[in-house]
């Protein structure tokens, strides 16, 4: 698998665990790159179970939320599963305000998410 610029990717069993290298996901170029790297996992490498760990993320813009929505559609189109974990309270509030907590499967921590696939 090619090296990633924006992501740290590891495998736990058949689950692909993704961590973000950027603390703040807001710059358009970074969001584009990040999206491409995430889409690649699904479309090129055929990963079906994706876990995004947000523990390092302190801020994200609505453009980043848009990219996650597109990712969710791609995962579902490939009959995969996407789970989000370790989202700090301030960002979790953004998911609730936008009602995106209804769209995404959000878990408290990685162990909980891994057990739920």
């Amino acid at each position: 698998m090619a090296a990633h610029r924006r992501l740290d990717v590891s495998e736990v069993g058949d689950v692909t665990v993704v961590r973000f290298r950027d603390r703040r996901i807001l710059d358009e170029t970074s969001i584009q790159e990040l999206g491409q790297e995430l889409f690649q996992l699904i479309e090129e490498y055929g990963r079906k179970k994706l876990l995004l760990n947000f523990s390092s993320v302190e801020f994200l813009s609505s453009a980043a939320l848009g990219k996650l929505i597109t990712l969710d559609k791609k995962v579902k189109a490939h009959t995969g599963k996407l789970k989000l974990t370790n989202i700090r309270a301030e960002i979790l509030e953004v998911f609730h305000i936008t009602k995106l907590h209804k769209l995404f499967d959000i878990r408290d921590d990685e162990a909980d998410a891994l057990a739920s696939f």
Binding site: F59, S61, S62, I69, T70, D72
Partner: protein, 141 residues
Amino acid sequence: MTNSPWTWVSDQTLPSSIEAGHQFIREVLARLEAAHWTSQDIFGVHLALEEAVVNAIKHGNRLDCRKQVSISCKLSADTFWISIADEGQGFDPNAVPDCTDDEHIQLPHGRGLLLMRCYMTRVDYNDRGNTVTLEKHRKPL
């Protein structure tokens, strides 16, 4: 001698580049931190400014380097106020669909206005829709 409550007042003209917008936002956040605003309030202002400033540069001025974004902002002990004007045609904020409706929730865009309204105390647009005024009252300590 004046009795102005404002401890920082700034009028700036930004070029239509995202980097210029982010540089300005960083300046505002540093002012709020220096004034000991809570991280929760700073997060809210950051989110609202990210949406408003980037909207003006990207959607208002369409990243046209011949166009500028005019900003007036001021900070007092308990209030942050800002007006952001672009040179675009403007838009009707009331015509933006509710992104929380089931029908629209999967759209990858259109959440900026909702976030500004949730995190700021007041959000107003002028009639043309190319100037937004935001106001945030900090939470009492």
